[in-house]
């Protein structure tokens, strides 16, 4: 504990000296640096901040030093994140390579794959997309049909992937592909890394109810993928996929408490948009909804903390398995609550008559509907809890 506290003092001092003032402001989506060939820094300060963090090894503090990480413990990494949060320091680099593929590759990739891809993530050279879902394989992910034929030195890939986040801006995509057509559906899946510049790969954005199109559909038409891009064993990709999903769900569970976008907290919005009577919100229903939400978030924050402490102490607990469900449901509740608090001011779609924050609230509300669908829907999460935590018997497959 003593050691951790002196580490904290060092971190605090370093951040103080190295994080530019402009990088301690809430970040807009346009200002985020996602790396890759199309990655752009929003300012010289953003570049400086990223480079300093990269050189310090703190882009991924818990990854091994040999791949550009910091080689630090989970507790030390948490200290860095806590201290960054304390001064509102921006994340220097965003991306699912950093959040999801990197940890999975460190666990399942071979030495050459790690050497090729992990430093490239930290160095901002590669932006990754995720190719899991297909038009016919959503919640029933294991029924995926995107086919990879074994041609000896390469695989020939045909099919498509949907909900490939920002795939039109990405360089590489990691995909679940079918390498064995018969037998148990989970046992014929492999995990492939595909260069999106390869001939036969194309991507189309999908317009969403939020008016944005951050999700895409990616098509594979006779794409030749070198054999060395297979992660893990042939037909054993489902294990890699599940490990990666754990990182995805953890990330989504924490989005509410650590949102990359600036969104006002409901209790702050209440001060601006609601009438008060003797220090109390006059609308009894909204006051009740707000306190329900605040108490739930308080409990969720404590449970995140407990989950981390248990993991660090080697105690097994079901806490981690319930957090994606709880966190994303809370995020949806928050957006509904904000709309209710803003009243008609929360309904502006675009143009004049509304503040940018008001317009943003509505767009985020629409986007929040995807939170409980992506990364395993809430219903799938409940299935997982029923099976893994409660040990309830599995329903007959239909």
């Amino acid at each position: 504990m003593q050691e951790l506290e002196s580490f904290r003092a060092e971190v605090r001092q370093w951040l103080e000296a190295n994080c530019p003032a402009s990088q301690r402001q809430p970040i807009t989506p346009q200002e985020q640096y996602w790396g890759g060939r199309r990655g752009r820094f929003s300012s010289e300060d953003a570049r400086l901040w990223y480079e300093r963090m990269r050189d310090k090894g703190w882009i991924a503090p818990e990854w091994p030093i040999e791949y550009g990480g910091g080689g630090l413990s989970d507790r030390q990494s948490r200290v860095i994140r806590q201290e960054m949060k304390r001064i509102n320091a921006r994340a220097p680099l965003y991306g699912i390579g950093l959040w999801m593929l990197g940890p999975a590759l460190l666990e399942y990739g071979n030495a050459a794959q790690k050497q090729q891809h992990i430093p490239a993530i930290i160095n901002g050279e590669t932006r990754w997309a995720q190719g899991y879902s297909e038009p016919g394989a959503g919640s029933d992910l294991a029924s995926l049909q995107c086919k990879a034929e074994d041609r000896g030195d390469h695989f020939l890939v045909n099919g498509s992937k949907i909900w490939t986040t920002a795939a039109d801006k990405c360089d590489w995509i990691f995909c679940l592909v079918r390498t064995k057509p018969d037998g148990k559906k989970q046992e014929g899946i492999s995990f492939l890394l595909i260069d999106m510049d390869d001939p036969g790969v194309s991507t189309t954005p999908i317009a969403l109810i939020s008016g944005e199109s951050e999700f895409c559909q990616t098509f594979f038409d006779n794409v030749k993928v070198p054999r060395e891009n297979l992660v893990g064993e042939l037909n054993k990709g489902w294990s890699v996929a599940k490990a990666l999903l754990v990182h995805e769900r953890k990330l989504m569970a924490e989005m509410g408490s650590d949102s990359p976008r600036k969104i006002v907290a409901p209790n702050e919005a209440a001060r601006t948009y609601l009438e008060f009577d003797n220090g109390r919100i006059a609308d009894a229903q909204l006051r009740s909804d707000l306190v329900d939400y605040d108490m739930q978030m308080h409990a969720i924050a404590l449970t995140h903390f407990r989950g981390f402490e248990e993991k660090s102490s080697g105690v097994s607990s079901p806490a981690a398995l319930v957090m994606k469900y709880l966190g994303t449901e809370a995020e949806k509740t928050k957006c509904e609550l904000l709309l209710a608090i803003l009243g008609s001011r929360g309904l502006g779609w675009e143009g004049e008559g509304f503040t940018p924050e008001e317009l943003d609230t509505l767009r985020l509300w629409a986007m929040s509907k995807a939170m409980t669908i992506a990364g395993g829907s809430s219903e799938i999460q409940l299935n997982v809890i029923a099976k893994k935590v409660l040990g309830l018997p599995q329903p007959a497959e239909v």
């Binding site: 209790n267 108490m295 409990a299 029923a386 018997p393």
Partner: protein, 379 residues
């Protein structure tokens, strides 16, 4: 506050679980109910609990206490919730001991705490006067007469009110009828002249009573804390009580839930275990998620009692409100998922359902604590 139990704490919990499973299963409460036991608990069991040190967990060693901290007391309360143990633990070792610890003069502490620690002296807090928890709505009067005070008024829902040796009476020595100013606390022997007591048989078959105080004369030295400033003691005592009862509710909810999940695996309908049906799986999984949240809230609330008492008010209200909701949901689902057998007296589930309803009212219902949480958040 790491929210993970250390080895000593786990040992205390496991010891409590083993002891209660063999010495005080739910059937012990059933027996007390069926024989209409006049005391409402087994003195022999309480002696054994005291020998294990449970009556003195939060008391300093100089008074014969274990000085183990409030979290330890919470762990024992939780285990007591699992088997619905009828005992003076809550009223004496949590509420009574806390009141003396926080507000007693050194003479009162020296005289009383060792007896509480040994389980020889039991206490009861005579607070409520209304059918909802309104801790500052006190009409019972304390009027000074020379060196004495004369107490008049009536109290209801006094836990252990008919069995405790010593009452802590909340009375008004000054101020408006519904404010915290002007409240004073008095230590009153239950058998003192003018105190009359009527045991009330409640849904949970546990101990509660209505009290009548008619010109009860107590010496000024029987006052706990300062005259008119009783709220300074009562407020933290109530918060400790809320957290401790929340711990008992956790045990009650967990036991009802685990028994229900076991039943889902065993009961077959339509040729399959009913636990394979998604309609039931999802409701069970949602309860598990709520349990995880409540576990974190409870551990934090128990920890701040000793470590960060400034955070106790908001965490006590969070814990009590969250556990109120959890125990209501879980006990209702426990009955529903057991089906027909769930509404029979032969099955223990009904005992959990009924105890849950009493604990939900004790020291503040859900609405009370949500309102308090919102007020503490500034809205």
């Amino acid at each position: 506050m790491p929210l993970v139990l250390n080895e000593e704490q786990r040992l205390l919990r496991d010891t409590a679980r083993d002891f209660l499973a063999s010495h005080a299963p739910v059937s012990a409460l059933r027996k007390l109910r069926d024989e209409r036991n006049p005391l409402g608990y087994e003195p022999q069991l309480w002696r054994q609990m005291a020998e294990l040190g449970w009556a003195s967990i939060i008391l300093p060693e100089q008074y014969g206490g274990l000085d183990f901290g409030f979290l330890g007391l919470g762990l024992v309360m939780e285990e007591c919730g699992r088997t619905l143990v009828a005992s003076p633990l809550f009223a004496s070792a949590v509420v009574g001991a806390s009141a003396l610890l926080l507000g007693g003069s050194s003479a009162q502490q020296v005289a009383l705490l060792p007896k509480i620690a040994a389980g020889e002296l039991t206490l009861a807090l005579a607070l409520e006067e209304y059918h909802h928890h309104r801790p500052t709505r006190i009409a019972t009067t304390a009027v000074r007469e020379g060196d004495d005070f004369l107490l008049n008024g009536s109290k209801t829902f006094v836990v252990d009110g008919h069995s405790a040796d010593l009452l802590i009476v909340v009375a008004r020595s000054a101020g408006e009828e519904s404010g915290p100013e002007g409240l004073s606390l008095f230590l009153v022997e239950r058998k003192l002249a003018g105190v009359s007591c009527r045991r009330t048989l409640m849904a949970d078959s546990r101990n509660a009573a209505d009290l009548q105080l008619d010109n009860v004369r107590v010496g000024a030295h029987q006052m706990l804390g300062e005259e008119g400033n009783g709220w300074a003691i009562l407020a933290p005592v109530l918060d400790r009580g809320r957290v401790a009862i929340a711990a008992e509710m956790m045990g009650c909810a967990l036991e009802a839930f685990e028994r229900t999940v076991a039943y889902l695996k065993e009961r077959r309908q339509f040729g399959a275990p009913i636990g394979s049906f998604q309609a039931l799986q999802h409701r069970a999984a949602q309860m598990q998620a709520d349990i995880e949240l409540c576990r974190s809230v409870l551990l934090q609330a128990l920890s701040v009692v000793d470590e960060k008492p400034g955070q106790l008010p908001i965490l006590a209200s969070l814990a009590k409100a969250k556990l109120n909701e959890l125990v209501k949901r879980v006990t209702n689902e426990a009955v529903q998922m057991h089906g027909g057998i769930g509404v029979t007296d032969a099955l223990d589930i009904g005992f959990f359902l009924k105890r849950a309803r009493v604990t939900m009212q004790l020291f503040g219902d859900t609405g009370f604590h949500k309102d308090r949480y919102a007020t503490l958040c500034g809205y």
